[in-house]
Symmetry: C2
Subunit: 363 residues, 2 copies
């Protein structure tokens, strides 16, 4: 039985949950899911504990976020955290983490998981992961989410014949489609949303990198040589290698090029929690459709999201909404946001305006 | 030339500007007018300085509000403040203040002014006051505001023949009308809004009280006798008298009963600032009709009122509104309000709900 390692990807910058999300507090560190007590990354790591011991859980994030990420995962040891010196996209990050796993166990199975998604049905999720890990014995495997709408914001995976129960061959990875194509994907029964979850043998992934991303492969070899030298050589070499690397996604650099890939079609209440709108959709709501603060007062108000995320200031503060519907009202110590739910993506306009005004402390 | 005394009425409780206004911070103490630096009562007293020296300016308020009111008017001496032991409406308050004026100068002219209104055109206001003071030599005089809309929320004064330039006889005081009647008042050219401003000789008002409100007259006499006795007798007697008095408005108790009254028709940009909607109407606005905070960010947002009235917490905080129109967004240290401008009167529903929840600290 191979050992299973998890690589949790926590490099996201996440501006779509402003004012909660910031450069130094990206989405995965926030408790914006239905579980208001646990950060998304905390929920992600808790969710896989039954499948992967915490000693074999790695968390890859930007070097500047390592400290904040450790605070969100206090039960992990400090060696669990890999700080990328500079962001060079998922191929570099996954390649690096895989190389580190292989250093201690070249026969390991690795599962790569995003840190900022929501999973509604954990038993179904665990079943999919077990199937994916079994499939990964023979091919790099991904999980494809059964689409529920003609979403144009995600990449898709086209599946071919069934190779085993619940395991299909990957025909191709496809980029974010236009609306018409997304409609046809939804109707096809052959297309799944790309979940960003990958499962593979460490040696097989490193071989695929050698074949399809030789620049990355040679960089990882340089890091391994430096690691054997000991001292600060590894750190110095890692910085030099990352600095020089081209940014490439694992999808484009590996998945679209490897001939033999498996996909596990699955449906486990997945959401990428892409905006305050998603947060509202997933939250428990009162009979008027409001997701409210405990003390909030809502009068003639329907389908609003209200969040008080202040950490300082007066306790017992009240947020009162009268006669408004479908709004997001979100407070932090240094900002208040009011935006209709159906415009939640437009918080980016605020980010742009704050940048124009030089208000970097609010970004 | 008679001495002019001002009696500024500052007894309002004012819940319509919640969360800014509270039991202990009624509307007149707030800087909610276009002048964001000065409380409404501060603006009221400043506005009459040219007509009435500060030594002859009295401010009548509830005993529990005297301290807060003094802080809003630091340039007045402490003897300027009259604290009503309990609220017994305007007849008692005006009678009591007039009696105190008469104690030092029975020949004085008194002008009674509300403390929580907005005046847009000060020269026109001063002209109306001078006319009213001249008229008060011969009869109790009021100012009638030329109506600009069929308002059903105000009392009206029906005016008769012109007695002198800009001075008309009062035919009658009329209560708040229904819509049809308000329309006919607006069309009549004979009806004015009751401004709540009164001008009279102290001795004439005391005579009118003796005639029409004998209970109040005898109470005031008891207070005067106690004042002559010195020591704490006056305070004790004032408390006993107020406790026992019936609540009566000056309109009902005196104005509707005195045969000879004058009204000065006037138009000086008057507003009773009855709600956040009025505050928005009077405020300077950007080209999109927003009355915003200095640092606020408004994107695709029109005709909103935004107020940050926090006195503690983080400075440099940003309020960002995207894609919302015609809202009032008001923050204080302990509350946040979001309400459409056209429902601004409904903040009373929040007050009711807070009372139901026993959140007295927020009332």
């Amino acid at each position: 039985m191979r050992q299973v390692f998890a690589v949790v990807l926590a490099g996201g910058s996440g501006t779509r949950f402003w004012p909660a999300s910031r450069r130094n507090a990206p989405k995965q560190l926030l408790a914006i899911g239905p579980s208001a007590d646990l950060s998304l990354i905390g929920a992600t790591v808790r969710r896989i504990e039954a499948l992967c011991s915490k000693e074999r859980t790695l968390v890859a994030t930007g070097a500047h976020l390592v400290e904040a990420t450790r605070r969100a995962l206090p039960w992990l040891e400090s060696k669990a955290f890999l700080g990328e010196p500079v962001a060079r996209n998922t191929a570099a990050c996954i390649g690096w983490a895989t190389s580190i796993v292989a250093r201690s166990d070249p026969d390991a199975l690795v599962m790569v998981l995003p840190s900022d998604h929501h999973i509604g049905d954990e038993p179904a999720f665990h079943a999919a992961l077990e199937r994916a890990l079994a499939s990964a014995e023979s091919a790099i495997t991904t999980i494809g989410i059964e689409p529920s709408r003609p979403e144009t914001g995600y990449g898709y995976i086209e599946a071919g014949e069934e190779l085993a129960a619940g395991v299909r061959r990957v025909v191709r990875f496809v980029e974010k489609p236009d609306r018409a194509r997304a409609e046809s994907y939804l109707a096809s029964g052959r297309h799944y949303w790309n979940s960003g979850m990958f499962f593979f043998r460490a040696d097989e992934m490193l071989a695929a990198i050698s074949e399809h991303l030789p620049e990355l492969a040679s960089g990882l070899e340089r890091i391994e040589r430096a690691a054997k030298a000991g001292g600060s050589a590894e750190q110095t070499e890692t910085e030099a290698v990352f600095e020089a690397l081209t940014s490439t996604s694992i999808d484009y650099g590996i998945m679209e090029k490897v001939a033999k890939l498996h996909v596990i079609p699955a449906s486990f209440g997945w959401s990428d929690l892409g905006s305050w709108q998603s947060a509202w959709e997933l939250s428990p709501k009162d009979e008027a459709g409001n997701s409210n603060t405990p003390d909030g007062i809502l009068i003639d108000a329907r389908s609003n999201l209200v969040r008080d995320l202040r950490t300082t200031g007066q306790s017992g503060r009240v947020i009162a909404l009268v006669g408004v519907n479908d709004l997001c009202v979100v407070e932090t110590d240094d900002a208040l946001l009011v935006i209709p739910r159906d415009r939640a993506q437009d918080v980016r306009l605020i980010i742009e305006e704050l940048a124009r005004r030089g208000r970097r402390e609010l970004l």
